[in-house]
């Protein structure tokens, strides 16, 4: 049986842990709101961009003239996985879930005899994957210093990916991130960025049929837009990730706070019981001492 003093110090230590988790939860809630706003503000661009890309890709079609970024290299032997995770832990299963999805994909590809290369964005994903996938790492992007994800960060990653593509280092690129659904659910997602996966446009047939003029011409515009499409996909992935991370952290910290509360209750009951036992013991000693006289 632990002594009274031990119990007391345990209670106070759990109490301070609860204060920390409570504070982290509140910080995450505030950051979540900002991250969500950022994700929402970026949405119009991505939507319009994808709509235009859809139109362009449809009009250029599948011919051999199409840029490599659109139609691929004709092989899928070497696959690049860009795994985007958080820089910090303590956010529940967030990093683990993304890493799990990426690992499953990598193992599937390896089983098919393909070559896998991995670029990690965010320290936590690298740590999780290092043990069994460490040999496949080719690059790591550090965003520790970045407070608010900007388009420039996404562009940096995109340039890294595109340079490697131009040098023929891989055939297919996929990005991994977590889609933000709500505070309690974030869905790990895999998205193919090279060759560009033409998004389903929700435009009705009337607009799809409109004949557009292109200036300069379709191919030139497409050649300019495709690298940007990669950057845009990465950017929206990063923003979704940002919101997901804070959401996951918020619910993880909420749980932790609640658990700490329960623990304090249990410990307090035990403390009181022990104290009572000590008092009863002393009384018995006094009474039996008095009776012996």
């Amino acid at each position: 049986m632990p002594s009274l003093k031990d119990l007391k110090s345990r209670i106070s230590s759990v109490k301070s842990t609860r204060k920390i988790t409570k504070a982290m939860q509140m910080v995450a809630a505030a950051k979540l709101r900002r991250a969500q706003e950022a994700a929402e503000m970026a949405r119009p661009y991505a939507e319009r961009f994808n709509a235009v890309m859809g139109k362009l890709a449809a009009s250029v079609g599948d011919n051999d003239e199409a840029p490599k970024l659109l139609r691929g290299t004709g092989s899928d032997e070497v696959q690049l996985l860009v795994v985007m995770t958080a820089e910090r832990g303590l956010c529940g299963g967030f990093n683990g879930n993304i890493a799990k999805l990426a690992r499953a994909e990598a193992q599937k590809l390896l089983a098919e005899g393909k070559t896998v290369k991995i670029i990690t964005v965010g320290k936590k994903g690298r740590d999780v994957l290092k043990r069994d996938m460490g040999d496949h790492f080719i690059h790591h992007v550090d965003l520790t210093e970045v407070k608010n994800i900007g388009y420039a960060d996404a562009q940096g990653i995109a340039r890294e990916v595109l340079d490697r593509f131009d040098e023929g280092e891989f055939d297919v690129a996929k990005i991994f991130y977590s889609t933000f659904q709500n505070v309690v659910s974030q869905i790990p997602t895999m998205q193919q960025v090279i060759p560009f996966d033409i998004p389903e446009t929700e435009d009705d047939a009337a607009t799809a049929d409109t004949l557009y003029d292109y200036e300069p011409d379709e191919a030139a515009i497409l050649a300019q837009l495709l690298p940007r499409a990669v950057a845009t996909a990465i950017f929206s992935g990063l923003l979704e990730n940002g919101a997901s991370e804070q959401g996951a952290r918020m619910s993880a910290m909420d749980n932790a706070t609640r658990n700490a509360g329960e623990m304090i209750e249990d410990l307090t009951i035990e403390y009181n019981r022990t104290r009572q036992a000590v008092i009863t013991n002393e009384l018995i000693e006094i009474i039996s001492g008095a009776e012996a006289l």
Binding site: A42, F49, Y212, E215, I221
Partner: protein, 141 residues
């Protein structure tokens, strides 16, 4: 004929402006063009330049650094890589843009020493930047 057209200016980070415009002057890759309501459908790329939007409330100017524009009879969307209202732009921001263009030029000169195409393109970018500077009253140095 409608006298206004829905105009949206979006950058990757946010929606900058969404107004009913009477005319929009767009710095397209092959020269400035002015789009008015009921314009024929057109998709064009942008060069760095000044975007002028005229609405009932007056004229708004933005510095854009490339991207593309989608014009249809009922709506004009400009998707800019970077867009800053002319009134808000600072000398520092402008210097950074000019520096980036100059870096691209020197890199192009290094990498494509024997090909005219990319070097010319980069040189054009620099001159576009300088032209922006003249427009908004800032020097390139």
């Amino acid at each position: 004929m409608a006298d206004t057209v829905q105009f949206d200016l979006v950058s990757p980070e946010r929606l900058l402006s969404s107004v009913a415009a009477r005319e929009v002057q767009i710095p397209s890759a092959e020269g400035d063009m002015t789009a008015m309501p009921d314009h024929a459908p057109l998709i064009t790329t942008l060069r760095p330049g000044i975007l002028k939007v005229t609405s009932d409330k007056g004229t708004d100017d933005y510095v854009v650094t490339g991207g593309f524009a989608e014009i249809s009879p009922t709506g004009i969307s400009v998707l800019a890589e970077q867009a800053i209202p002319c009134a808000d732009i600072t000398q520092d921001q402008y210097n950074a843009m000019v520096k980036e263009a100059n870096d691209a030029l020197s890199k192009a000169q290094e990498v494509f020493a024997n090909e005219a195409g990319p070097v010319d393109e980069a040189a054009k970018l620099v001159s576009d930047m300088v032209a922006i500077g003249d427009e908004i009253g800032m020097s390139a140095r």
